[in-house]
Amino acid sequence: MSATQRDTAAPLRGLGVVPGLVSGQAIRMSPTVSEPPRTQLPPGTSTDPAAARIAEAATEVGRELSTAADRTSGTSAELLRTTAVMAADPALVAAAQALVRNERLTPESAVWSAGTALADQLAGLGGVLAERARDVRDVRDRIVAVLLGRPAPGIPEPGHPFVLVAHDLAPADTARLDAGRVLALVLSGGGATSHTAILARALGIPTVLGVAGADDIPTGTALVVDAGAGAVHLDPGPDLVARAGSVTRRRRTFSGRCTTRDGRPVPLLANVGAPGDAAAAAQAGAEGVGLFRTEFCFLDRTEAPRRCEQVASYREVFAAFPDRKVVVRTLDAGADKPLPFLGVPDEPNPALGVRGLRVATYAPEILDEQLAAIAEAAAAERAEVWVMAPMVSTAAEADAFVDRCGRYGLTSAGVMIEVPSAAILSRHLLRTATFASIGTNDLTQYAMAADRMLPQLASLGSAWQPAVLALVAQTCQGAAPRGRPVGVCGEAAADPALAAVLVGLGVSSLSMSASALADVEAVLARVDQDDCVRLAQQALDADGADQARQIVRQNLPALSELGL
């Protein structure tokens, strides 16, 4: 295909999960390293130089990872530093060198064998250590790549900002994503709520998932990625490049108080998954915390955390938001996110099993202990603490939860709306529950009967589905007579176009990754309440998710003005 033909060619299409319009060069993920053939050194050659090369290669990988760690911060930096120490590990190097000396294996073959054996040994130990087996294999692959003179597997380092093109990213790779260097992400796989999408949102990297044809984009191709529209233009014409350049992502900042153009406040809150996120969210101007996930306290443990540990963690989050609202979600675990001490048996269909609030039937003491810890932390800090339960299906469950919260003096007790039954009968649930918060990820999965992790169901699994929006509308209608506020804390709230629709449906606050606050505010500040209602009606009248998104984007000129 010639360049002129390409200019007019239709863009590749996918699901835009983080909006943004950028122009840049495509760089593909470096290929993974596979097992080198198990070959021996030629007879008569000395094994010493081969053994020495292993030590040199391991040192080089350690140094590369340390340098990468210095360029990033927080959890990713810590992970990279630990991996750097692992790369230069004397046990790994010594085991590989022994294979060279004793079995005359080539250095790459020796490192592969020694690294695999160490990884398998860790995997056999189970628990947290087993999870590190992946890092040992990663280190092994990197050393083998150096020995073979190949590029390091994973995210390339071309020395300039680029558009990263890949099938999907492994968790170890996502930890190395850097918004300063990766302009946009174009993936052929991935779902809207996959770990890659969640991390891209947290980092604010424009991302398009499920792009058919992305696997055929060669490294070096010029691209314009219009992530808000889910479009990837190959070899774009000068006009398109100029347009991308003109709206080059100004790093917007959030004012700290979001209102529509006609002055209606729409509080923008942050989703927080670990105490450390809270300070960053407060710094980004979040008007509070709309979803404080408490699972971090419970994961990777063999027994329930003690109350004092919980109190300390919760206080850290509350302390970051004095006089602001912090909505704590009680433990959301179960068969889908198993914790050994809950005693929930394996289930054939964990998404429909004992999870969220339902776990309290098995282990009521864990919920009681958590509510006591929340109450104690709330009493010690100035945050306005609200508590909500995940996976509530019936009014009876809501009543029991509110009653239980009351016993600990927690009077703002609400429910997550994730199950269609709760959305349909929100008026019953909200008799006693004082607020509702819609979890759009699960609500979509249950309303559309589409597993949100499956990329081939990306369109069915989109919160733009008119049926999902109708459930949001119904939730708000059920809440209105009692004046109960309804928020949205799913990933839908971070999509600026969808945010306007949600406000039009009657949602009163939105909670999202802190990185999305400024973009959502920028769009809401350019629309009136009436515009939102009109957009919401257009989305409800659409035939499907793609059409709803398209119609709303067409009728919301603020998006293209802002490059979103």
Binding site: A91, L92, L125, R132
Partner: protein
């Protein structure tokens, strides 16, 4: 020969991060240090190797023994013991 006992305090046992910190300290000191699970059958491993130490599968509450042939290693062993008993 200087030795030092310590109790693993991290909730997840001697996992990657504490093992890496320990190995780095040993490597920086340049003294030979080994670490073994306390008891008769504890096979000592090189404390400069995070992978070897992780391979012991030590859990919270396990008792370990640090030892070194170097006569001037007592202060280092005490420091390493304190690292193992840190709660992170």
């Amino acid at each position: 020969m200087p030795t030092q006992r310590a109790v693993v305090q991290s909730p997840d046992g001697l996992h990657a991060r504490p093992a890496a910190a320990l190995a780095q300290r040993v490597a920086a000191a340049g003294l030979p240090v080994s670490l073994a699970r306390a008891g008769d059958d504890g096979m000592p491993v090189d404390a400069a190797s995070m992978l070897a130490m992780m391979g012991l599968g030590l859990s919270r509450g396990d008792v370990v023994v640090l030892s070194s042939d170097a006569p001037d290693s007592a202060a280092l062993l005490a420091e390493l013991g304190a690292l193992i008993e840190a709660t992170e």
